[in-house]
């Protein structure tokens, strides 16, 4: 908060101020300014105002009054990242295809989702986006300094738009067979490029590779609210 400003004329009661008009004149030092300027208060000439542009009358008046929607200047910002999640943290994914998998956090994308990788060779989780709400952050960290994640953003993960196919009966059956998703080689290379330095960092810590390869599950006697992750 800014330091409290000193008020020259505090309000004692609503409508009643402390200092009288003449005393305020003296307090503000208007007499000194006047004295400095030869008896008159310095006066600036008004800047010449630009002449108002003559507006042409509109060509078309709509018949009905259409209501203008209220203006919305809201700029969405990415979800606040939990303090426990920093680049290199091991996360436990809680739902979806990879539930229970322990995974390395890379960075938060502009949509708020977390960019995450297995690494793929260790547990089969590729470069993937994951919502912060479906994740437990552990306190284990992996050294992520050798990894470059600049090029990944939400557009990288957008669904591929398929070309329109004509729906003839024969073509329909043929098209079904070719429906398989072939990952473009570029994405496979990206995965390898991200995982290579990660694998080195992971292998330097004993048991970490096996840890990332194993799934998390609650066993008998484990109380989640008492567990330290």
């Amino acid at each position: 908060m800014a330091p409290k400003q000193r008020t020259r004329n505090p309000e004692l009661i609503p409508g009643v101020r402390k200092v009288s008009r003449s005393k305020m004149y003296h307090k503000r030092g208007l007499w000194a300014i006047k004295a400095k300027n030869g008896g008159k208060f310095p006066h600036h000439e008004k800047a010449p105002a630009a002449a108002p542009v003559a507006e042409k009358p509109p060509k078309f008046y709509p018949a009905d009054d259409v209501k203008k929607p209220l203006s919305n200047k809201r700029k969405p910002k990415p979800t606040k990242l939990r303090a426990s999640i920093t680049p290199g943290t091991v996360l436990i994914i809680l739902s979806g295809r990879f539930k229970g998998k322990r995974v390395v956090f890379l960075k938060q994308l502009s949509s708020g989702l977390l960019l995450v990788t297995g690494p793929y060779k260790i547990n089969g989780v590729p470069l993937r986006r994951v919502n912060q709400a479906y994740v437990i952050a552990t306190s284990t960290k992996v050294d992520i300094s050798g990894v470059n994640v600049e090029k990944f953003d939400d557009k990288y993960f957008a669904k591929q738009v398929e070309k329109k196919k004509k729906k003839g009966e024969n073509e329909f059956f043929e098209a079904e067979k070719q429906e398989k998703n072939n990952l473009p080689a570029e994405k496979k290379d990206d995965q390898k490029a991200v995982d290579a330095p990660l694998l080195k960092a992971v292998e330097s810590v004993p048991d970490l590779k096996a840890y990332l390869g194993a799934r998390f599950s609650l066993k008998a006697g484990m109380k989640p609210h008492e567990l330290v992750f």
Partner: protein
């Protein structure tokens, strides 16, 4: 079966309820039938109900309501901390605390270690069985 641990001045007790849960305190005076004046090096001297205390075997030599400095010196002389950590009760509490503070990764490493140990034990057992059978 006679009682062995008495409420007396200098008796070390473990707080088992309340804000000071888990702390070792010394009974410094008895207020009435239910309450004691209790003190510890890192705590303001205060009253506590006996029901909140569990008496231990450790006793130190102090006069009624000693000054804080005297109390701390007496506790050092009797080595309360060392005796407590060597006692089986104290050791159990330390293990419990350690287990509760384990990381997810630590628990994984613990599991691997347990499996390894069990494997070694089983091998030895198998060897011994073979010898006794032969």
């Amino acid at each position: 079966m006679p009682f062995k641990r008495y409420v007396e001045i200098g008796r070390v007790a473990l707080v088992n309820y309340g804000k000071e849960y888990g702390k070792l305190v010394v009974i410094v005076d008895v207020i009435d039938q239910n309450r004691a004046l209790v003190d510890a090096p890192d705590m303001v001297r205060s009253q506590m109900n006996f029901k909140r205390l569990s008496l231990t075997d450790i006793k130190i030599d102090i006069k009624r309501v000693p000054k804080k400095k005297t109390l701390i010196a007496a506790m050092e002389a009797a080595d309360v901390k060392g005796k407590w950590e060597k006692s089986s009760w104290g050791r159990k509490l330390i293990v419990q605390k350690r287990r509760a503070s384990l990381n997810d990764f630590d628990r994984f490493k613990l599991m691997l270690a347990k499996i390894k140990r069990a494997g070694v034990v089983r091998q030895e057992l198998a060897k011994l069985k073979k010898e006794s059978a032969a």
